[in-house]
Symmetry: C2
Subunit: 398 residues, 2 copies
């Protein structure tokens, strides 16, 4: 595989933490279910996958982005109780839509430090039970309360500004944005955990109701309920659980200023690039070495920008990469074979953890044949919060 | 110093992480100030104390318990921006009223793992800007949404049940509870960062308005705004900043089931004991070795139970320890020389971080003379979330 714009090559860092088990609920609408019930379903599935005993787990890392959405303002305690890990140290991490990755990062550092040798990461969110307008409002309250939320901007509006800038600067078109949606919906068809199972055409996307021009409804990821769980273990411990550990090769994290209005360019998200550089440096790998990726397509434009920031395409050439089919399953660098946030769904806290569930299953060759990346050895996950205020790029390998 | 009931002695763990700088705002009512402004004030003070450059900091660990209280649902991004650490990995930890300790734990594991060698922990909360009844409601939403919040119980009610059980089982009296308040208000008189600076008598406490019998207003910690910050560094790095590092000897963390109604006894909080045992084991120290402690007196009964769970007194003998004056400044084991949550104030996310500010200043002999613990070498901080669902006991030494 030869890709554009390899960013860097740093010293190889020895893998010390592995994924030994993964689990996930279906993403979608779970009427009447509590957050802790979804979290427990994903957790038990991950624990069964790892064949790990309750008594082995030394740290519980919970990722829930918004207590307001579920009416449970300190959600970790109820999740811990539901999975029966009472006594074990437990805390919640939050980084808006990158909350799942923040929870993984907390568990990763916990194991790297030797404080525990096995940890469970549980990402979960309930988003459909408060109604769409309340949900949109709670999400908007994650932006700056004085200079953004109070002036009325919401996330679709912010990403619409970014899409407009990218279109103006690089000639990206509404059809290009639509192609992201079409690809990801197509990929989701064979992912049974995905929220949507229907083909979407370019015409469907272009003809769907405008949300924040140029973004239409089918450019936007949905409100979703769901949970995902991952068991991490130290190298020594991992060998006792499984013959097919998936190694955490690197987690690069970065941040950006809080106000979109203060950003130099609206057509790029520098924190993604910074997180990617850190991940490539830590792992000694480059974007060239990635066999596939799951990226944060909260809105279609975000996937195109991600191609560019991750070094899969040169700046301004993201749409071309897509049009050339390179990011299709079977292409040079398949992106969002799971269906992505757009079609798999985007239960905030579960999203980053769910990316690692997908990477692990791909690297273990366990996904449905038509979605399976052939001979996948190394995969990348890119997850961000807000408009890139929190960025995580992580690399996993067989 | 000879104390009751030393719990355990484990293998000595080598100190690897140190506190190299601390800062804190006044706790109290900060009208019109944003969360990020308070956080920045504490952070700059800690950075100046450590003489650390912005460029040295590799991880920003934010502790804010409730975004709802400040109307900023993903508060870390605005705090990061306000302190000018854009680019640096940043995430929020949450564990209800133990949020500050959760944020310290995240930074501690981050440095122990080698992912960063210097980190800043910022705990902050705005609680007085939404009005008392909204604040009480947001706090109650941290309890179980189905079996507690929806049935109308709030935290004063829960701790009132615990106080009643302790009184019935061990003969603890309302006067004993009042003595906690009197001691902590007395200690706060000379702490300029404290919310309250007034003497309170047993009669004042007993005569204050009932909140949830047997607890009265002066048995309860207040709503507070405030922020605290701590700079942590690896051993090697710490030596470059300061000749007087304060070592993190251990952080013991534990959890409990989520429902108070399912607890075997209401007169004890087992997760405190479990966290303490872990901290003593990690440090190779026992409760006997502690020169002083800051404990989580969200309600007066909680301080008495803490004495017992930490091994400062035998079960049921907490009130006697207090009556004997052992927990006064100058006593065998001074507790809450800062004024504690009761009188220093309890801005949720700042509380656990503020305890470490106090411990550090005590261990560096920097506090006002009448509050200074003589020849303090080792101190303990006990911080919990909800009714002990999240528990942290940490030990710091010169």
């Amino acid at each position: 595989m030869v890709l554009l714009n390899p960013i860097t090559r740093g010293p190889e860092v020895k893998s010390r933490v592995a994924v030994v088990g993964v689990g996930q609920t279906k993403f979608g609408v779970h009427k009447g279910q509590a957050l802790s019930e979804l979290a427990a379903e994903a957790s038990f599935s991950a624990m069964a996958d790892a064949r790990v005993d309750h008594s082995d787990i030394g740290f519980v890392s919970v990722g829930v982005a918004s207590g307001s959405l579920s009416g449970q303002l300190s959600p970790a305690a109820s999740i811990l109780d539901a999975i029966g890990l009472v006594g074990v140290p437990c805390q919640r991490s939050e980084a808006a839509c990158a909350t799942g990755s923040a929870a993984i990062y907390a568990a990763y550092s916990h194991i790297s430090s030797g404080l525990a040798d096995t940890a469970i990461v549980i990402g979960a969110e309930i988003m459909t039970q408060v109604g769409t307008s309340s949900a949109t409002d709670y999400l908007a309250q994650m932006t700056d309360s004085r200079w953004e939320y109070s002036l009325g901007i919401t996330f679709p509006g912010m990403f619409a500004l970014m899409a407009s800038a990218h279109m103006k600067e690089f000639g990206t078109t509404e059809e290009d944005l639509a192609l992201v949606s079409c690809k990801n919906h197509r990929n989701a068809l064979k992912n049974e955990d995905a929220q949507f199972h229907k083909t979407v055409s370019v015409e469907d996307v272009l003809g769907s109701p405008p949300v924040a021009p140029p973004l239409k409804l089918l450019d936007c990821s949905p409100l979703s309920d769901g949970a995902a769980a991952v068991i991490l273990a130290s190298e020594e411990k991992a060998r006792t659980y499984t013959d097919t550990p998936v190694w955490v090769r690197a987690i690069g994290a970065a941040s950006s200023g809080n106000l979109l209005s203060e950003r130099k360019h609206l057509s790029s998200i520098p924190s993604i690039r910074l997180a990617a550089m850190r991940a490539f440096q830590q792992s000694g790998l480059s974007s060239r070495d990635m066999d596939f990726a799951e990226v944060h397509d909260c809105f279609t434009i975000a996937e195109i920008i991600a191609y560019e920031e991750l070094g899969f395409a040169e700046r301004g050439k993201g749409a071309k990469l897509l049009r050339d089919g390179a990011t299709e399953i079977g292409g040079d660098i398949p992106v969002n074979a799971s269906g992505g946030l757009k079609a798999k769904g985007h239960p905030l806290g579960a999203t980053g953890v769910g990316m690692v569930v997908e990477l692990t299953r791909q690297l273990r060759s366990e996904v449905e044949k038509s979605r399976q990346i052939k001979d996948a050895k190394v995969g990348l996950a890119q997850n961000m919060g807000l408009t890139g205020q929190y960025s995580y790029v992580s690399i996993y390998s067989r």
